[in-house]
């Protein structure tokens, strides 16, 4: 088994606002191995971006509060580190790719300088070495004519090219962990496919671990080894990509899978929806946070928060439906049919 690079234990993050304390992340646990990709999926407001920003210690304090928990990166807890120590971790050990390539680059700086800035900060190299390294990085992320591009400003790049530059900056100091916060959401499907291919290629080459945050399940299926489904600040289901897609256990995961039309969907049937909207995290509901939107909710869901039930060695789900005393609830028809369809297609191909 490969070694663990990151271990997050019972992470809780609150924000102090005028309206009250928002419990954005409410006890998150996960692990990441070297060279592995973990996808965190969830709706906006589910705490996935807060979790990833917290790993980089990018939560402003105040209003943010690291309420409890540990972030163990290579065995060292990042939460007590000072800003100065953290600067060494950022870029060097952990780097981040942000969602919007239009706003994450400095419009007044040539992109060459934006890359060398990182290299000069973290490595003891000369300026010309840094420049060579930057051009090498631009080539690596697939930007044509890197020498010419080196001296251009962000506005001279298209959206997809800008995101490549952002990736080049993230890779500049050879990080061991790459956090990508919706890196392809603002891009077209064709460009998205290219960026995903690029990230997989980089991972293969340098054995980087990736945390990939997205709400697009198609992208998750494409890139992830393991998946964490987040809802209302908690991980509600956690497992390998095949377990989550072919054997989902949590009703919220069913809802997410069902609400995406697939290309074989008949257009006369309505999409399955998750009724209502996510809970207010200033006053998180008692019991299971998903209960009010869950058609299979039981009385206990409104009373007591479910623990993580273990489904298999790698698969966990936080729902009372997995309790031995719970009634057997089959996966909703639409979702089951789709999974069967996928697996049947697979059998056909394998002959």
């Amino acid at each position: 088994m490969s070694e663990t690079i990151l271990k997050v234990k019972d992470l809780k993050i609150n924000f102090k606002t005028y309206a009250g304390i928002v419990q954005a992340v409410r006890g998150v646990n996960f692990e990441l191995n070297v060279g592995e990709t973990l996808a965190i999926v969830g709706e906006s407001g589910s705490g996935k971006s807060v979790t990833s920003n917290a790993l980089m210690k990018l939560i402003p304090q105040p209003p943010g509060i690291y309420e409890s928990g540990e972030i163990l990166f290579n065995g060292r807890d990042l939460i007590p580190l000072s800003d100065k120590e953290m600067t060494k971790v950022r870029g060097n050990d952990i780097a981040m790719i942000f969602q919007d390539p239009m706003t994450s680059l400095n419009p007044t700086m040539k992109i060459g300088r934006q890359i060398t800035e990182v290299i000069l900060k973290h490595k003891k190299v000369t300026r010309s070495d840094a420049k060579n390294r930057a051009i090498e990085l631009l080539t690596q992320v697939g930007i044509p004519m890197p020498e010419k591009r080196y001296n251009q400003y962000p506005h001279e790049f298209s959206g997809g090219m800008r995101q490549r530059v952002v990736i080049a900056i993230a890779l500049a100091a050879d990080p061991k962990l790459l956090i990508a916060d919706e890196p392809t959401t603002a891009l077209d499907v064709t460009i998205q496919a290219q960026i995903l291919e690029l990230m997989k290629e980089i991972q293969k080459k340098s054995n980087t671990s990736i945390i990939f945050i997205t709400h697009d399940l198609g992208v998750v299926a494409n890139i992830a080894d393991r998946v964490a489904v987040m809802y209302a600040g908690q991980i509600v289901e956690y497992g390998t990509v095949n377990e989550i897609f072919y054997n989902p256990k949590h009703p919220y995961t069913w809802g997410l899978l069902g609400s995406m039309p697939d290309l074989d969907n008949k257009s006369d049937e309505l999409l399955r929806t998750i009724p209502g909207s996510p809970p207010d995290l200033i006053h998180p509901p008692k019991g299971d946070a998903f209960a009010p939107r869950n058609e299979f909710a039981m009385a206990i869901d409104y009373e007591k928060e479910p623990p993580m039930f273990q489904v298999s060695e790698t698969h966990f789900a936080k729902t009372w439906l997995l309790h031995p005393d719970a009634p057997e609830i089959p996966i909703p028809d639409a979702v089951a049919r789709r999974i069967e369809g996928f697996l049947a297609k697979e059998d056909q191909v394998n002959g």
């Binding site: 998205q192 039309p261 909207s277």
Partner: protein
């Protein structure tokens, strides 16, 4: 055959200086039939939103014509004619955060059209109409007195839809109505749009870049690339037997929520071949057309298994 509600003939929309224009929409023609949903897909910058905005007169077009029920939309019209036309055609915008006035309540936003068109002058009648519209989009009457910031993204888009419905239009242009919303909320809004279409017999032009959603909602699909429509046909034909290499490339790039097939999917890259002036629409069957020169069309057909 259904009646043609909207006919777009050689529509051109250029921006910038006349000597070196940016050809956002470069001579496109298509029809939209009554009661159908036409999906318009393409990557950003291909001109799909410009097409929608030109049809509804948000831009003064450079050339060509748009016929709505046989009448030219862009003819110079008196204020009265224009009002009549505006009641028939409405738009739902992409960003529910930017398209609602933050200083107006939901009720005021929906009633704005009534004031402009002098409808429902009786206060009680107007209130009833607002309530019925809010209920039609899954909100309730209490929501009428709230401001935009008090709503979530999905609810805001519902208000946008209620506003578009307020004047009982027959044709709605939806410009990426769901791309700013969460997955679970997207499904709610799409179901709502379908339901409303069924109840009111509306015709939609659905502009989007999310191909799986477009496939789901559309009867026919038009694929746009660099200001031109390259392929148009029934949704199933476009998905199951695309002919134009761009359509093929676009379809091959969609990630599916199926990890096993994802490991095998290979993207087909697209290199654009410039088509000369002999390019035109070639029929694949009686409803499915591909744009190109005779020669490229033959080549593409040979590469396609139907």
């Amino acid at each position: 055959m259904a009646k043609k509600l909207v006919e777009i003939k050689n529509l051109k929309q250029y921006f910038g200086s006349p000597s070196n224009p940016i050809k956002a929409v470069d001579g496109i023609s298509f029809d939209i039939y009554e009661g159908e949903t036409l999906g318009l897909v393409g990557e950003s910058g291909c001109g799909k939103s410009t097409t929608g905005r030109s049809i509804i007169r948000l831009y003064d077009i450079t050339g060509g014509e748009v016929l709505f029920n046989g009448e030219n939309v862009h003819d110079k019209k008196s204020g009265k004619d224009l009002k009549k036309f505006n009641r028939e055609m409405q738009m739902i915008f992409q960003d529910p955060y930017a398209s609602l006035n933050p200083r107006m309540t939901a009720g005021e936003i929906i009633a704005e059209g009534f004031i402009i068109h002098g409808l429902y002058k009786n206060k009680k009648e107007r209130q009833e109409k607002i309530t019925s519209l809010l209920e039609a989009v899954g909100l309730n009457k209490e929501h009428a007195n709230r401001y935009a910031h008090e709503f979530s993204g999905g609810q805001r888009q519902r208000i946008g839809i209620a506003r578009a419905l307020s004047l009982d239009p027959s044709f709605i242009i939806a410009d990426e109505p769901i791309s700013a919303l969460d997955v679970s909320i997207q499904a709610q809004v799409v179901n709502l749009l379908k339901q409303i279409q069924k109840d009111r017999g509306l015709t939609y032009l659905f502009i989007a870049h999310d191909l799986s959603m477009v496939k789901y909602i559309s009867d026919r699909i038009a694929v746009m690339y660099s200001g031109k429509i390259v392929e148009v046909g029934p949704a199933d034909d476009i998905y199951n037997s695309p002919v134009h290499p761009y359509t093929k490339s676009l379809l091959s790039a969609i990630p599916l929520p199926d990890p096993i097939s994802e490991t095998k999917r290979t993207r087909i890259p697209y290199t654009h071949e410039e088509q000369d002036e002999t390019a035109s629409f070639h029929p694949v069957n009686d409803k499915h057309f591909v744009y190109g020169t005779e020669k490229s069309f033959q080549k593409w057909m040979n590469n396609t298994s139907i």
